[in-house]
């Protein structure tokens, strides 16, 4: 089975002849026999599309995608408007590449410019790039960026950050020989005393916080902003872009760079990717921003046109002196987010986040009333921490709920050793009252079954 190959053998021979080749075999004469395969690839023969569709469907069906979902922690089960895939599957967007030739790519370029505009308007920043791989790499690139700006090689990172993001930052910092110091967590927020007691604060380039943080709590960003201003540090804020519909604009509390994931803007969970990260900064740092940036300009007739710009930051021009090695980013995901923000508008974005928050409030209050479960913190937006009586382990609890097709939360022990028997529970606009009641009913049963007590 040879799929997607247009040539007949007759045409192949004709092409070879016209290419002045002795034979098709001679195409690879420049490859020494000593490094050539002796046999065929040890892979099965190709299959037809008919078979492939069946096979992949069967594989997909082995996954449980039809569950009652209360999982968050960086990926969210959000409403996805139907018009998004209708547009992103337009193959003029799908099968083009990086818009190196602006005249042949005005569609992608204008969409990216509009994406950058929406990110700037939500974060209060002046400049946004056209996306990076995900929220985690956005954080890591921001850390590298502040170190370049301030010519320092130490950063302070909040422990309340998504731990996968932290791991990625550490990996990038291993590459860049940057020291990462952790601001410890206390009561679901950063420990401010730790910060105030640091004696070598001037050695650090920046502080990176996430708000709402991994525990779902809104950090006291005002206080942190005051602290960085006083100590002349840079502030990197990692924020779920949707949350900015209701939370204070980061520029207003002193953010220099704002980053995060845009999966909540109409992007499927897809087992963790492709999602995309956004990255925006103040004007004075524009030339240190990594990644593609689109600018509005004019064409020869003086008409509005778009192009990639500030390219002297980039690897294909500056090679090892570039701000980053980014080449392919997540353009199509950024396009999806742009369509989402367009069709939802500010009101729709706000509705989605308020509905999520309302459901979180409702669910958390009900959980708090069940013996053996306690909601630990109050200042959350749409995710919250539940401490569970140690009479039942979180593993068993989650398993029992899974038997009822409920994905009840993330076991926090996986990322935070201080949270021995707690889960992170998330609601979105997708969770119905019925689902919430069912969750509560099952928790109640477990509480009774295990004879749980107040925690």
């Amino acid at each position: 089975m040879k799929n997607f190959l247009p040539h007949t053998d007759q045409i192949r021979n004709q092409l070879a002849k016209e290419a002045n080749l002795d034979s098709i075999d001679s195409l690879f004469d420049s490859i020494n026999d000593s490094v050539k395969f002796k046999n065929d690839l040890n892979l099965p023969d190709g299959i037809s599309e008919l078979e492939a569709q069946k096979k992949l469907k069967k594989l997909a069906n082995k996954n449980n995608s039809d569950c009652i979902n209360f999982l968050g922690g960086g990926t969210y089960n959000k409403f996805i408007p139907a018009c998004i895939s209708a547009i992103t599957s337009r193959t003029e967007f799908l099968t083009s590449y990086t818009p190196y030739q602006p005249e042949a790519s005005q569609g992608t370029l204008q969409a990216m410019y509009e994406y950058q505009s929406m990110i700037c308007n939500l974060t209060g920043m002046d400049v946004s790039n056209a996306s990076v791989y995900d929220g985690a790499t956005a954080c890591a690139e921001a850390v590298l960026m502040v170190c370049r700006i301030s010519k320092k090689s130490k950063v302070l990172i909040a422990e309340t950050l998504n731990q996968q993001y932290l791991q990625v930052i550490k990996t990038y910092c291993f590459g860049g020989d940057i020291e990462v110091k952790i601001i410890p967590e206390i009561n679901g927020e950063i420990d401010f005393n730790y910060l105030s007691n640091l004696t070598n604060i001037d050695e650090f380039a920046a502080i990176l916080i996430q708000t709402p943080n991994y525990f779902g709590n809104v950090e006291n960003s005002k206080k942190i902003g005051d602290f960085i201003t006083k100590n002349k540090l840079k502030l990197i804020v990692c924020a779920d872009i949707s949350s900015l519909a209701v939370l204070e604009v980061p520029v207003n509390f002193g953010a220099d760079i704002v980053v995060g994931d845009i999966q909540t803007l109409g992007i499927p969970m897809a087992f963790g990717g492709p999602h995309a990260g956004y990255m925006a900064c103040k004007q004075q740092y524009a030339r240190q921003l990594p990644g593609r940036i689109v600018g509005m300009t004019l064409d020869k007739a003086g008409n509005r046109a778009y192009t990639l710009t500030l390219q002297t930051r980039e690897q294909h021009i500056k090679r090892e002196k570039a701000t980053s090695n980014i080449c392919s980013n997540q353009a199509l995901v950024a396009l999806a987010a742009t369509i989402y923000l367009s069709v939802m508008g500010y009101n729709g974005l706000k509705q989605a986040i308020l509905l999520s928050a309302q459901k979180a409030k409702n669910l958390s209050e009900k959980i708090n009333n069940i013996k053996g479960f306690k909601v630990l913190y109050n200042n959350f937006l749409y995710e919250f921490v539940v401490k569970v009586d140690e009479k039942i382990s979180v593993e068993i609890l989650l398993n029992e709920l899974k038997e009822n097709n409920i994905l009840a939360g993330i076991n926090l022990k996986k990322y935070f050793k201080q949270y021995k028997n707690s889960i992170l529970v998330c609601t979105t606009e997708m969770n119905t009252d019925k689902e919430i009641d069912f969750y509560i009913e099952k928790l109640q049963e477990i509480s009774t079954k295990y004879n749980l007590e107040d925690v």
Partner: protein, 478 residues
């Protein structure tokens, strides 16, 4: 003039309304008031139809593989089979959460176990991670492995060698890992100069990064000796997989002696480029480097697929979760459909097509390295430049003919470079159309170069002023 979506807003319009319920503001009473947003951000207020129309019209201003021949060298713009989109959007793949327990995601894990098995066979590597999100991200991952490896065995090696024909990402990725870059010149055959390599190699060199076939579309014939030279000094050999499409089933990086390989699934394995991503850049390594890979990797044990987070020397994570999973589904679908013979035939046809086009075009354009090429070749616009229209003008004129221009001004070692990669999915007819356009443009430049200088005239805009864009940056609508 094309309006932005902001200019199409009508105050009070909302495309999609989630609920008629009046959402009460005391929902957020638990959050201190000074941490709440007071300013309304500027976002479009526009109906769903107007949104769809806006972006549909924008899409029509793009040249794409599905609408036009797109011979962008080094980017492997082959056909993106439509079945890939169908399989990637199956509910069982698109709608699973990455924190779901393993028992509910066995299908995804099975796919993420099988795909590396296929890639191992194609590349000759021992273990593969699927985590990196793009080729450059894979390079970075590879260079971090180089760094961690030498730290582990207690050798201080500070330099990385790259040929002057290398992709820009190569030196940048190495630099991001703290290495100093040593650039070596290519010889007059367009290949790595063995003497220059010998001079550059020393015991503080950590790695040589190589693309093979290289960016001139030429196979590094001395690869076995290059590998030996590199390994004899204790350094590692890194394979930039951007050009893997030329050699599937013919040879592989393992046979050539490479230690680390990245693969661009969005090039060789047919996943769509999306206007600049998402891609995927899996990285494969030889056995001695397997414990340095990012975590987790997938294993099959006790009749089940598992994540293994326990790699003793891991460089850590390079991305949240497990990679661009949706892209992996597409590549897996493609490999299944192609099979061993199909992949090999794809490489043969890709190389055949490039040679055909090269032979046809070299009569009209300067060809610096006149010998059989692999999947791509590099012309020079020198002759035409002397006649008054440079490579940029040729590229823009091609847009008028309905083609996406080739990669231009790269590789840097060819003046006025025009880098053409047809890929195997183009028919003779499509190639002939492009060849004829190039020939016509060459003839036209002889007579009247101004036409090319003024091009394009048939695109949605005239020549775009990139200098103005950089001088007076307008980077967002406000």
């Amino acid at each position: 003039m094309s309006k932005t979506i902001f200019e199409k807003s009508i105050k009070g319009t909302q495309g999609i309304n989630l609920t008629d319920e009046k959402l009460n503001c005391d929902i957020l009473l638990n959050i201190p008031e000074n941490l709440l947003r007071k300013e309304k951000p500027i976002l479009p207020e526009i109906s769903e139809l107007e949104v769809v129309r806006h972006f549909t019209l924008l899409s029509q201003k793009n040249v794409s593989v599905d609408s036009n021949f797109y011979p962008l060298g080094s980017c492997t713009m082959k056909y993106n089979p439509k079945i890939n989109e169908v399989t990637a959007s199956l509910d069982g793949f698109a709608n699973i959460h990455p924190e779901q327990e393993e028992s509910g995601t066995q299908g995804a894990l099975e796919l993420m176990y099988n795909l590396p098995e296929q890639l191992k066979e194609i590349t000759g590597m021992h273990t593969i991670t699927l985590q990196p999100a793009a080729g450059a991200h894979g390079e970075f991952t590879g260079m971090l492995i180089v760094k961690a490896y030498f730290e582990k065995i207690g050798q201080k090696r500070t330099k990385v060698i790259v040929p002057d024909s290398a992709h820009g990402t190569n030196p940048t990725s190495a630099k991001m890992c703290g290495f100093d870059i040593v650039e070596i010149k290519s010889n007059n055959r367009g290949l790595v100069d063995l003497e220059a390599l010998k001079t550059a190699l020393s015991d503080d060199v950590a790695a040589l990064l190589l693309t093979n076939p290289n960016t001139l579309g030429l196979f590094e014939e001395d690869i076995a000796e290059i590998a030996k030279l590199v390994h004899d000094t204790g350094a590692l050999l890194y394979y930039d997989g951007a050009n893997l499409n030329a050699i599937m089933g013919i040879t592989n990086p393992g046979l050539m002696g490479f230690d680390i390989v990245h693969i661009n699934l969005h090039k060789t394995f047919s996943t769509p480029h999306g206007g600049g991503g998402p891609g995927a850049g899996p990285v494969g390594v030889v056995e001695k480097l397997k414990d340095f890979l990012p975590v987790p990797i997938i294993e099959f044990k006790d009749e089940k697929y598992h994540f293994n987070y326990d790699l003793p020397n891991t460089i850590g994570r390079v991305k949240a979760y497990y990679g661009n999973f949706g892209v992996l589904v597409r590549a897996y679908t493609y490999i299944l459909m192609m099979g061993a013979n199909g992949l090999k035939q794809a490489s043969i046809d890709a190389v055949l097509n490039a040679n055909y086009m090269k032979e046809k075009l070299k009569k009209y354009f300067k060809l610096e390295y006149d010998k059989p090429c692999m999947h791509e070749f590099v012309l020079s616009g020198d002759i035409q430049k002397e006649q008054g229209a440079n490579t940029l003008a040729i590229a823009k004129r091609l847009i008028d003919y309905g083609f996406h221009p080739p990669t231009v001004y790269f590789p840097l070692i060819v003046h006025e470079a025009i880098m053409i990669e047809p890929t195997e999915t183009e028919s003779k007819q499509a190639m002939d159309d492009f060849i004829n356009a190039m020939v016509e443009i060459a003839e036209e430049i002889k007579q009247n170069p101004q036409k090319a200088i003024d091009a394009p005239t048939k695109a949605s805009v005239l020549r775009v002023d990139e200098t103005l864009a950089a001088r007076k940056p307008n980077l967002h609508w406000s």
